[in-house]
């Protein structure tokens, strides 16, 4: 008697497995094939100008695997031969310059882990709970280690004139994405990056070159970066006027809402990751991040906010990076209302959705960082809800 996987000889115990080079570029186990980016078809008009979502509920730690980083592009994924890629710096500089990829590799390099969150992450939830799964409510985010050169080095190489107050990165794809970034940020921590998690950027993340704008909304992290223009005024282009401006209830709109507010979400349990094991010891886990610093503390509640508990932070705490938290508890098999609440290093505390709506109304689309609630029923199944 006993478990047949123990008492009976299994094929993998007897037969030979794959030799090396069966998969020269390795891939996940066939038993993990359900772990993938997913889209919501009704959100956009066409898949070449669309979005998909990182499966946060299937991941742990703080690093997002490259193949699971959510995608957002406006004219499809460009496939660019790095030998034909150039980066130009022009505008209010002493010498307009052109760099090849080989030139860029000769600058001093840095490595940093940063989260990239789309400003529209959780945007479908402004009017109320809508999508069942943290992949869909919170999955427009990823967190990887970038290797690249400080934008400051490149700007200094060209020599920024004293009248140069703004930079405008531009993409080489058919959308030719542009945004205006104040010089102060450009000289502070922006990177021009060509590696993510040690390997070349994936095409859908801007291969061969992208801009990294730590802590600021993902739309500014221009992919397939081909040009940086220096100017004395912002450009007010499409992605910072008709889009990525936050419409308030009175019909006025905030512009240049660059920084991502502190936010967190419980990734397990969640609608796509129900409790399958019944009552008893249960691991709750999630992610927290802030565009203004680190996350020293996350509070967790299992009763809808009557009582809160300090979650256990685990893993490195890096500036403008995702943080991982855990809360282990003994589930009595009853109903749960799960929430997490992030505190960032500036003292900011993640607000409830209604606190946020008091300031923003429900038409903002962008920058929804309100506290997420999952209702868990007695079967362990979770649902996206809001509570009083």
């Amino acid at each position: 008697a006993g478990d047949p996987v123990i008492t009976e000889l299994q094929p993998w115990m007897q037969q030979l497995g794959d030799g090396v080079d069966v998969a020269p570029y390795g891939k996940p186990s066939e038993y993990e094939s359900h772990v993938k980016r997913r889209t919501v078809e009704w959100l956009t008009a066409d898949p070449v100008s669309s979005i998909n979502f990182t499966p946060l509920h299937e991941l742990d730690g703080i690093i997002t695997p490259n193949g699971l980083c959510f995608e957002r592009h406006h004219a499809g994924t460009a496939h660019i031969d790095p030998a034909k890629h150039r980066l130009m710096i022009n505008g209010l500089v002493d010498t307009p310059l052109v760099f090849t990829m080989a030139d860029l590799l000769r600058f001093p390099r840095e490595n940093h882990v940063y989260f990239l969150e789309c400003a529209a992450n959780s945007g479908m939830e402004w009017r109320g709970a809508q999508l069942n799964g943290c992949q869909f409510t919170h999955g427009m985010i990823h967190n990887v280690m970038y290797t690249g050169v400080k934008l400051r080095h490149l700007l200094e190489e060209a020599g920024v004139k004293t009248s140069g107050k703004w930079v405008m990165p531009e993409g080489a794809d058919a959308a030719a994405m542009t945004r205006s970034i104040p010089m102060e940020k450009a000289l502070d921590d922006c990177l021009v990056a060509w590696k993510m998690n040690g390997e070349a950027l994936r095409p859908e993340q801007g291969y061969p070159l992208r801009l990294v704008v730590p802590g600021w909304e993902g739309n500014m992290w221009v992919k397939w970066l081909r040009r940086i223009e220096v100017g004395d005024e912002p450009w007010h282009h499409r992605e910072e006027t008709s889009k990525y401006t936050d419409l308030l209830a009175d019909g006025t709109a905030r512009r240049f809402t660059w920084e991502m507010d502190a936010k967190s979400v419980i990734t397990n349990p969640s609608p796509q990751a129900p409790i399958l094991h019944g009552k008893g010891p249960t691991v709750l886990t999630g992610l927290a991040w802030s565009g203004r610093g680190t996350i020293p503390r996350v509070d967790v509640t299992i009763d809808g906010g009557k009582n809160w508990h300090a979650a256990r932070m685990s893993g490195p705490s890096l500036d403008k990076s995702m943080h991982r938290f855990y809360f282990e508890f003994d589930w009595d098999g009853g109903e749960l209302l799960l929430q997490s609440r992030a505190h960032d290093s500036t003292g900011y505390v993640q607000p409830t959705k209604n606190e946020l709506r008091d300031y923003r109304g429900t038409n903002s689309i962008y920058h929804n960082n309100g506290i997420q609630t999952w209702y868990v029923n007695k079967n362990g199944e979770a649902e996206n809800v809001e509570v009083s």
Binding site: A45, A75, M88, T252
Partner: protein, 341 residues
């Protein structure tokens, strides 16, 4: 301490890539384009996604209308209602449009399409010509309603809570909203199987996803306009002229034998019929309110409607900008009268 890496960009290289336009006119090239030319270009290159009148097809961006809607429950953010600067239109059309054929338009064509988008938004008349010379005279109506990020003054202060409740924070908790009510989450059969497999369950049960979104059966709305007796004779020359003008309407409306509802209702017998006379057609709330008041379509109110649809019926679903010429209005009404049945 420069490293001396890279090389100087040539003037030709900079000219090839430096295509950006700013609100102060920096970057605008020489050139001009008329509303009239823009209409032809727009219809050919843009309307397949953005609709004949900027009303949009599917989920592509709406480009016209939405005036005064920004504080509504469902704001319509268009070039006319929301965008702060016209230079953004020029820049974006030039750098990224038409979708899938970026940077294929000449400078004059971009001026013309920009002019036509102004026309679709009631910002200029149909004889307007936009050029580098008059570009900076244009101000879009919503420019002053944008302001710099002010979170630091309000939210950041309010949400920084040095003391925060950790226990017995509230007496009761009620669920106030549920995703299950309006669940639009995509199905994921693979993940469900994987979860079941982890539990050691055998999943042969296939909870088929509700297949919503199948083609709605087209409703045959019978146009049942009361036949009038003793109608005045028609001016057949005007009817013929109206048939030509009606091509502008035909993108959304059908008329005549076998006509069916499209985006707009079938128009047989509309002159003389009560407002909202086509059974089963989903009229705008504004039109239905007028119908409740017992209003009937006459030549006069139809003329007023066709001149400025959005002025005559509040939030009409008819996204047509309107006919500018009285002769065209008279002609198309005469044409509609010829289908009085």
């Amino acid at each position: 301490e420069n490293l001396g890496l890279g090389r100087a960009a040539t003037p030709d290289e900079i000219a090839a890539w430096d295509i950006d336009i700013r609100p102060d006119g920096q970057g605008l090239p020489e050139g001009s384009g008329s509303v009239m030319d823009g209409e032809v270009l727009y219809t050919e290159k843009c309307s397949v996604c953005h609709g004949v009148f900027g009303e949009a097809v599917g989920r592509w961006p709406v480009l016209a209308g939405g005036d005064g809607s920004l504080s509504d429950d469902r704001p319509v953010k268009t070039v006319g209602s929301y965008w702060p600067y016209l230079s953004t239109v020029w820049d974006y059309v030039h750098r990224a449009m038409p979708f899938g054929d970026a940077q294929s338009l000449s400078n004059d064509e971009v001026y013309a399409i920009t002019a036509y988008l102004m026309y679709l938004n009631y910002l200029v008349e149909d004889d307007f010509v936009l050029s580098k010379e008059n570009f900076l005279e244009v101000r879009l109506p919503n420019e002053d309603n944008f302001f710099m990020d002010d979170r630091a003054d309000g939210e950041l202060v309010a949400f920084a809570k040095p003391e925060i409740c950790m226990s017995d924070c509230k007496d009761s908790v009620e669920i106030t909203a549920r995703a299950a009510i309006i669940d639009v989450t995509p199905e994921d059969a693979d993940a469900r199987k994987a979860r079941a497999a982890r539990l050691g369950m055998d999943v042969s049960e296939s909870e088929g996803a509700a297949s919503a979104g199948e083609d709605d059966a087209t409703q045959e709305a019978a146009a049942s306009a009361p036949a009038e007796s003793g109608e005045p004779a028609l001016d057949m020359a005007l009817v013929a002229e109206g048939e030509r003008v009606f091509k502008k309407c035909a993108a959304c409306h059908q008329v005549g034998e076998g006509a069916k509802d499209r985006v707009g209702p079938v128009l047989n017998g509309v002159i003389g019929a009560p407002f909202g006379h086509v059974d089963g057609f989903r009229y705008s709330k504004g039109l239905l309110e007028m119908a409740d008041e017992g209003m009937v379509w006459t030549e006069d109110n139809m003329a007023e409607f066709l001149r400025k649809p959005r002025d005559y019926i509040k939030r009409t679903k008819m996204s047509f900008a309107g006919l500018r010429k009285d002769e065209e209005i008279a002609a198309v009404i005469e044409y509609l009268k010829s289908f009085s049945e």
